[in-house]
């Protein structure tokens, strides 16, 4: 972060870029930040799978199957029904890009 700020500040002083937009927040797409309420990060293991680093197409396929009631589930079929194809794709891409 410090390094980023230094670069930004140097560039401003040199007149190379427009005025600063301080933070460029790393923002997840709509709905994505809720998933980690149940899907764990790297520190712990539970029966619920990790999402970070999974193949985007695989996440999309599973979510669509949950939504269509084609894959057995406890809560995921109820949650998947709240998301459109575009939202599912954005969420899948977000998690696929995580470490």
């Amino acid at each position: 972060m410090n390094a980023t700020r230094i670069l930004v500040a140097s560039a401003i002083v040199c007149g190379a870029v427009a005025p600063p937009t301080l933070a460029a927040p790393r923002e997840p797409p709509a709905g994505a930040s809720g998933c980690t309420g149940c899907h764990p990060g790297s520190a712990i293991t539970t029966p619920v799978p990790r999402l970070a680093g999974r193949d985007a197409a695989e996440i999309v396929a599973q979510m669509q199957a949950f939504r269509a009631g084609q894959r057995p589930a406890t809560v995921m079929e109820r949650i998947a029904k709240g998301f459109s194809d575009a939202e599912i794709q954005a969420i899948a891409a977000w998690y696929a890009a995580q470490r």
Binding site: N2, R5, A24, T36, A43, T74, G82, E87
Partner: protein, 426 residues
């Protein structure tokens, strides 16, 4: 602040050769201090928000105002009451938050000046903010239930804020003779954890069935329906036949007054003498919400569902059990989900950009027995300023699900608890 100074010093060192100091001092990135966010309350909502802010932008100075050194979680505390787990499994420290550069102000917020954007703390210090996040949880409406005063909680524990009260209710159940009557008084909506009183009744019944099988449990309810009702009632019939009696509002279930000395609960029609009485009193947003002016006449806090900024006081955001969240229940999952959306919005507002509309998820598990889990889930988005459940989404576990599904949901409940507490405190 330290971080800012370091970056400035390094910058001066690296850029000094090409520019004059006058130019450097006039550069906006240097004169602008690190944005300051204060978070008041270190529960599921507040601690989640502090963590999320630091992930989104480590350059934001985040101060968490929390007087308790240890957080004691309410979800799963009904298991402590029933002797299924220890209170230590509910407790977390703020060490990892501090390790992630969140400043811990181990004090209480006494007053807030929204004009000066200053918080007065109980230790005499003052804390300025650019954005304030209030996550005060709930307080009880003392006086709303005649006889149930702050002095009554020893005789008739509420156990609705986890900690000593949780252990007290457990000890009272353990000391009770077989054949005793346990009475739970459940409040009208809204209140923290809507299925909580009924999960508690279930797990206490589980304890009684195994240890004091001649005992009974009565729920005196100030309402005519409750969360996951059909699922709970089916479970009670299957697991604890004849043990739990639920008396709804329309059958005289509303408790009008209590007498702690005799452990008696009085309704309009009857009076109930309890061996163990658990009174879950009427509630409102935590006290500091009133002090800050963000609670309305209902006692709860109206918010903008995109940013969670108060609709009453600008630059103050409110989260969790304290807010009027439309269709979202007062659950730990909801508090955590709201906190992450709020953190993203706060970061954008501090950067001068427009927060984007989010979608929020809630998933809430209850246990009817240690191996019998049921759930409610929902997906929400803002509609005309109100968090509204998306049509066709969400809902309850099926009423006719086999026991294998209940067992699986109990496992997922445990997984949820470990995951969410790891995300926040780990």
């Amino acid at each position: 602040m330290t971080q800012r100074r370091t970056s400035r010093r390094e910058f001066l060192k690296s850029a000094g050769a090409v520019s004059t100091s006058a130019v450097l001092l006039s550069a906006p990135a240097l004169t602008q201090a690190a944005p300051r966010v204060a978070v008041v309350g270190g529960g599921f909502a507040g601690a989640s928000c502090a963590r999320a802010l630091k992930i989104i932008d480590p350059g934001i100075k985040v101060t968490l105002v929390e007087a308790n050194r240890t957080f004691t979680a309410c979800p799963f505390s009904n298991g402590v009451i029933a002797g299924l787990r220890e209170l230590s499994a509910q407790q977390f420290t703020y060490d990892k938050l501090v390790a992630h550069n969140i400043v811990l102000a181990a004090s209480m917020a006494n007053a807030i000046d929204p004009q000066a954007r200053l918080i007065s703390l109980a230790d005499g210090s003052r804390l300025g903010y650019d954005r304030l996040v209030l996550a005060p949880g709930i307080d009880f409406r003392w006086g709303a239930l005649p006889g149930y005063t702050e002095a009554a909680v020893d005789a008739m524990p509420h156990a609705w804020k986890a900690g000593e009260q949780t252990l007290l209710l457990r000890r009272q159940l353990q000391a009770m003779d077989d054949g005793g009557t346990v009475v739970i008084a459940a409040p009208a909506n809204p209140f923290r954890c809507p299925p909580g009183p009924y999960e508690r009744a279930s797990l206490i019944a589980h304890y009684l069935k195994n240890n004091k099988p001649r005992s009974k449990l009565i729920i005196l309810d100030a309402k005519d329906s409750f969360s996951k009702q059909r699922l709970f009632q089916a479970a009670w019939q299957e697991l604890y036949p004849g043990m739990i009696e639920w008396i709804p509002l329309s059958q005289g279930g509303k408790v009008a007054s209590v007498d702690p000395a005799s452990k008696t609960l009085v309704t309009d029609f009857d009076s109930y003498k309890a061996a163990v009485a658990n009174v879950i009193p009427p509630q409102k947003a935590g006290h500091i919400a009133e002090v800050a002016g963000v609670a309305d006449r209902t006692g709860w806090c109206p918010i903008n569902p995109v940013t969670f900024e108060s609709t009453l006081v600008s630059r103050i955001h409110v989260l969790g059990d304290a807010i009027i969240a439309g269709g979202m229940p007062k659950s730990a999952f909801a508090a955590n989900a709201q906190a992450k959306v709020c953190a993203a919005a706060v970061a954008k507002l501090l950067a001068g950009t427009e927060p984007s509309e989010a979608k929020l998820i809630n998933t809430c598990y209850s246990l009817a027995a240690p191996d019998y889990g049921i759930s409610i889930a929902g997906v929400y988005h803002p509609v005309n300023g109100v968090l509204t459940e998306i049509e066709g989404s969400g809902g309850l576990s099926p009423v006719d699900a086999p026991r294998a599904t209940r067992a699986q949901e109990a496992i997922f409940a445990d997984a949820w608890y470990r995951t969410i507490t790891d995300e926040i405190f780990g």
